[in-house]
Amino acid sequence: MIELKGISKTFPSQKGNQPVKALQNVDLHVAQGEIFGIIGRSGAGKSTLLRLVNGLETPTNGTVRVDGQEISQLAEKELRYARQKIGMIFQHFNLLQSRTVWKNVAFPLEMAKKPKETIRRKVDALLEQVGLSDRAQAYPSQLSGGQKQRVGIARALANDPKVLLCDEATSALDPETTSSILDLLREINRETGITLLLITHEMSVVQAICHRVAVMEGGQIVERGEVKSVFGNPKHSVTKQFVQQTEWMQSSDFPVQSTEKTRFHCSPDEMQDVWAKIGPAVQSGRVKVSVSERELKADGGMTFLIDGKREDVEQLLDSLHEEADLEVNVHV
């Protein structure tokens, strides 16, 4: 359904900066009806990759095919028709603030110049499907994050697309809402056979709904395959980090000593060094480090929670401060 061949994307230099090589020689094949996940840290190129699929970005080299059509070769008018068959949902929902829920879902149908009666039936059915019929006349500002994403999903499905692109669709949601949105996406995939391509920095999302996964780093796909085999036997260092991250999150049976808990945040640049220091400390069993999903920041950085005896925690913090020369922002 989606086929990317030899894709490179270089953004021209701006204001004296070097040109950015966002993607380098990427191949990707997503089968019809599949839920395919692309996981990577921020800046890995996954967002650019996703935008190539519906032509919001054009590749510098290579070809993008969706349902047999070569997206990068389409004339503007054809591209618009092709886009109607490629739905997209967003991290920040991107709903029109000036339109009600109902009118938001009607938007893509109006743009496709569908008859009024068709629009009315379709919108009612979609709102029913995402469980928001009773909120039809509300404005987006009156909805919760989860409800907003449901509107986003209904809107993306309005023109019966064959592909649904999910751009960090659950990253702005809390864990419970995330799982309800993922359930909805899985259900839609099962019922309609729509192909899902999603990008995320949360491994739990990939584990929850994806059939296959590709791990991205530095504009390249460094590992790919069935979700179980990739995460069960991670080969690349980035994949290993994602796996470790979830293992820590899952082992929550460690006795909580709330008075000794220490939080710190690190940016994406510091991540590599932080992992290197935290790993051994955790393996020694003296401290427990967890990453709350709520604390995963949009900048790609993370907030860690260190738990353990005071001297052990301090020792770890000291090693982070001095040996790795990190400016970790500690707050209790």
């Binding site: 919001l56 029109l96 000036s98 496709a112």
Partner: protein, 218 residues
């Protein structure tokens, strides 16, 4: 001091001012909105990137905004004769008023449209909207509240501009205040005209705020 007020003249002048401001506000919006749209959509990274259009529109807008209004009035009254057949009276005054206010409003429109969330524009594009559809169905509706409050500011500016245009032959409250108040040593006329102008500004502001609030769904 108020016993020498010629109310007939006052009401006629009030009518002229309302007429000048009304007509010129309408045309200011009519020209200002498209100009503002052009300033935004033709800029780098926007939906219709055309640098030469951007530069051309920006230059024209800046020139008209840089010329002091009173100079604009003197320059454009002759043009008014050509366009509306007379260089005197309230109708003629609308020409420099529009020329002065439309570029001003264009910049306000530009700012309002730039405030619209880029993600929403991207979403609309991803659904297969044309550029025109993005402008009409996304940019303008999402910015309506800001466009209205900007038009209110512009209208208030037009009221004060109209008083200036009045003095050089446009008529209206500015003209009445100058001729029948200031030059005739009639303080009552002067003050009454001033008070009426203030009341007009208040009324416009009040109506504008009300509409802007009604349309703000954020």
């Amino acid at each position: 001091m108020f016993n020498e007020i010629d109310w007939a003249t006052i009401w006629q002048a009030t009518g002229e001012t309302a007429y000048m401001v009304g007509i010129s506000t309408f045309f200011t919006a009519l020209f200002g909105v498209p100009l503002g749209i052009l300033l935004v959509v033709t800029d780098t990274g926007q939906i219709w990137e055309k640098h030469w259009v951007q530069k051309a529109v920006a230059t024209v807008v800046n020139i008209f905004r840089a010329v002091p209004f009173i100079i604009l009035v003197l320059f454009l009254f002759p043009l008014a004769k050509f366009l509306v057949g007379t260089s005197l009276g309230p109708t003629a005054a609308t020409i420099p008023l529009i020329a002065g206010a439309a570029p001003f409003y264009a910049r306000i429109v530009e700012t309002a449209l730039r405030e619209v969330d880029k993600g929403v524009v991207e979403a609309a594009r991803s659904m297969g909207s044309t550029r025109f559809q993005v402008v009409v169905n996304v940019l303008l509706p999402e910015a309506t509240s800001a466009l209205i409050s900007g038009l209110t500011v512009t209208c208030v500016t037009l009221i004060s501009f109209s008083a200036m245009a009045g003095v050089v032959g446009g008529g209206g409250l500015g003209d009445a205040a100058f001729r029948f108040g200031f030059q005739s040593f009639n303080d009552g006329m002067l003050v009454t005209c001033g008070v009426l102008l203030v009341m007009m500004v208040q009324l416009v502001q009040w109506i504008g705020d009300w509409f802007s609030r009604q349309l703000d769904k954020r």
